[in-house]
């Protein structure tokens, strides 16, 4: 039997007995076969001894059980690592940040406590997946939408706490921002409710976020200060209709006004749907069309076009641009979407066209007009998450790829945040492509466009493959860390990362001699003096492990 680090076998055995008394013997896992389920399926340490693994796992079914587990863990100094459903592949999965921790698996806490249609909110436990919530809403014929990531298999609470993003409208795509109220088990077993939930019999826990006094919800995301056992979310009222349109512009430099105008139309909510940038001339698909391009093949390019593409630098050559102008192939295409009553979204699209018309040669096209409710048989005609429908379709892609003739065994997401401007896209491509090329990293090999999950910034989300070759994985891990540092030197930082890179990422957030990290440590020592909760998560280590590390 595996034993957590720093814990004697005898103490661990006693703790396991007490855990069994709380959750039942069948929900305490210690065999290798059971614990294999808690390995990170995309671990960058595939087949290496440094892979982070669990010593055990516990699956409570209630908040009260979580409180008891935490008290036992304090008694025996058992390091716990909390997961909701552990589906954040590419960002660490179910595996603990501190190898040898006991995974506290909240999947059995899967109750949908309330979905309020009138005020459009839900209150759920951490084991509720996007599929679960979607199904509940459909079965109860409620006129609300969820906003889900792609794939939509994960926990609503877990994704929000990891600060994931989605694809509907700007008010809901930032999953942490769209939460309203939490219930938290603190490291000493105390129960806390945030916002209006701090009022006994609160009537507005899911309707007003901050309550009164310091608003502390943020410290429970990407952290290890408590175990969130309930969380409220604002839902989107089902729109009457949906309109998806494109704005195409002909020249490389048009990217700059294109983004400026996008920012205005989105920040003023003229268009609130997921903006998606494509480059027909560079052969770069929008996220919403990626699946269709793969299933049906990308648009064909002439030999001349392919030849000119090879000569482009940072996505540009005068010849390529001239070719695009001659052949009528836009350099950039922006996909915009509108949700609401038909007459409203028609007017929004009209205003949008007027604003973008200041770019010479801009062309406009309506791509889809949808009335809701949508016929379920037609949902795969669209990128499902943009219509609030969870999907696993992203896994329909085969595994053989030219960049990796042996199938990839997963990936590590490289996800830097950059400013919301055309200039920043070009600069980031220049910086990262030079760095990646010198490091031999399979990133930024061609001009790369960011995603628009959040309305005030861009994010690149790029997959660095995990291979079966430990030497290649080692090289990629080191290269990945160097790219993080390169980003940091330019003022860009990752929004989320796998445990193996969390220290490197947090080291970039170094203003005033790492005052943010030092504050995190101060909080940790005050809230969790025994250091039992999720040690090492986002580089927040308890005192005894900080001392060991130094």
């Amino acid at each position: 039997m595996r034993v957590p680090p720093g814990v004697s076998a005898a103490a661990y055995a006693k703790a396991l007995t007490e855990f069994e008394q709380v959750v039942g013997k069948e929900w305490v896992f210690t065999t290798d076969e059971d614990l294999d389920l808690y390995r990170d399926a995309y671990s960058p340490f595939l087949n290496e001894p440094e892979e982070r693994i669990a010593s055990g796992a516990l699956a409570p079914s209630s908040t009260e059980q979580v409180q008891q587990i935490v008290r036992i863990a304090n008694k025996y100094r058992i390091p716990l690592y909390t997961i909701s459903t552990g589906k954040n592949l590419g960002y660490g999965g179910s595996a603990p940040a501190y190898s040898g921790s006991v995974v506290l698996d909240l999947k059995r806490m899967n109750r949908i406590l309330e979905v309020n249609e009138q005020n459009a909110y839900a209150l759920v436990e951490p084991g509720v997946s996007y599929f679960d919530l979607y199904k509940y809403i459909q079965e109860n014929k409620l006129k609300v939408w969820i906003d889900c990531p792609d794939p939509g298999w994960g926990s609503v609470v877990g994704n929000a706490l990891d600060r994931g993003g989605g694809y509907t409208t700007a008010n809901y795509r930032n999953h942490f921002d769209s939460h309203c109220g939490m219930e938290i088990v603190l490291p000493d077993g105390e129960l806390l409710r945030t916002g209006m939930g701090a009022i006994p019999n609160s009537k507005t826990w899911q309707q007003y976020k901050s309550g009164c006094g310091p608003w502390i919800d943020g410290i429970f995301s990407q952290s290890n200060y408590g175990i969130v056992t309930k969380m409220g979310f604002w839902l989107m009222p089902e729109p009457e209709a949906y309109l998806r349109c494109t704005v195409s512009v002909p020249r490389y430099q048009d990217l700059i006004p294109l983004i400026e105008i996008l920012n205005y139309v989105e920040n003023s909510r003229i268009s609130a749907g997921f903006p998606d940038i494509e480059s027909p001339l560079l052969g770069y698909p929008p996220i919403g069309q990626l699946q269709l391009w793969i299933e049906k093949g990308p648009p064909r390019m002439s030999e001349e076009h392919v030849r000119l593409l090879k000569g482009a630098r940072v996505g540009y050559s005068a010849e390529l641009e001239a070719h695009g102008l001659r052949a009528g192939i836009p350099y950039w295409r922006l996909w915009l979407s509108f949700h609401g009553p038909q007459e409203v979204i028609a007017a929004q699209w009209q205003a949008t066209q007027r604003l973008f018309a200041r770019i010479a040669g801009a062309k406009f096209e309506v791509r889809d007009t949808v009335r809701f409710p949508l016929d379920p048989a037609k949902v795969t005609d669209y990128h499902e998450p943009e219509l609030g429908v969870p999907s696993l379709r992203v896994f329909s892609i085969g595994a053989r790829t030219p960049w990796n003739p042996t199938p990839s065994k997963g990936h590590m997401w490289f996800s830097p945040i950059i400013p919301r401007s055309g200039e920043a896209i070009i600069e980031a491509n220049k910086v990262f492509s030079e760095a990646a090329s010198s490091l031999g990293m399979p990133l930024f090999n061609s001009f790369t466009l960011p995603a628009c999950f959040w309305e005030r910034c861009f994010i690149f989300i790029l997959a660095t493959p995990v291979t079966e070759d430990p030497q290649t994985n080692r090289r990629y891990r080191e290269g990945f860390k160097k790219l993080i540092a390169v980003g940091g030197a330019h003022g860009w930082g990752e929004y989320r990362t796998a445990p193996v890179f969390q220290q490197t990422v947090m080291d970039v957030y170094s203003y005033n001699n790492h005052s943010l990290q030092r504050f995190h440590a101060t909080l940790k020592d005050a809230i969790d003096p025994n250091g039992i909760l999720s040690a090492g998560r986002y580089a927040i280590w308890p005192k005894h492990l900080r001392e060991q590390k130094s």
Partner: protein, 210 residues
């Protein structure tokens, strides 16, 4: 890898799509076998042959084109919530990663897997991971001149639980159906507590979900 490279990389697989249809799902059942569903990918010849062989064994089959969403929402989630219901199949590795994660949601796990990857025009490599006796049967099912039904039979009769799994890699000559197929993987997913008693070969098999 960015979106453009992703499309380029995937187009080789997309080009391989050719979908003579098996029924999307069939209802059958064999008293000797306890799998609830056999999954196959309609896009790829070897997987279609596997699905046909399972149907011939009177198994309930389900065809996908990579996307397991409908299978999950319509069948699998409800089945696995009951804590029982083994499922087997031959799919891409990507589909299996997805199913494996979904299985873990209910503490189900892959108890045997066989990766199949063409190495050159005429050679296909198989990598089996399973408990030793089952591994031998799986290997036998993949032997030269073996039919898809031999392999399907071997896969659908799982090995013992609680026995450490071992791995073996070997090659066979390809048949024509593998020529355009990407790497595929055959697998068997069972619950945490599914156990069975071994049986004498050819006399049938007994599995009990406890």
């Amino acid at each position: 890898m960015n979106r453009r490279e992703f499309v380029a990389a995937s187009s080789a697989v997309a080009a391989a799509i050719g979908c003579p249809r098996l029924p999307a799902a069939t209802r059958a059942g064999s008293p000797g076998l306890d799998v609830s569903w056999v999954l196959f990918d309609r896009r790829f010849g070897p997987s279609r042959a596997f699905g046909s062989a399972a149907a011939d064994l009177r198994q309930r089959i389900y065809g996908i084109e990579g996307n397991v969403t409908e299978f999950w929402t319509e069948h699998l989630d409800a089945l696995w919530r009951t804590g029982t219901g083994a499922v087997a199949g031959m799919t891409t590795a990507a589909s299996l990663v997805c199913l494996e994660q979904l299985a873990a949601q209910h503490w189900f796990r892959v108890i045997g897997r066989v990766e199949h990857q063409r190495r050159c025009e005429q050679i296909i490599m198989h990598r089996i991971r399973a408990e030793p006796r089952w591994l031998q049967r799986l290997r036998g099912g993949l032997a030269e001149n073996g039919s898809p039904s031999h392999f399907a039979t071997a896969l659908l009769e799982p090995g013992r639980r609680g026995i450490p799994q071992v791995s073996v890699e070997f090659s066979t000559n390809t048949s024509g159906q593998w020529l355009d197929a990407p790497p595929l993987v055959s697998w068997y997913i069972a619950s945490r507590t599914a156990t069975h008693t071994e049986f004498a070969a050819g006399t049938g098999r007994h599995e009990v979900e406890t």
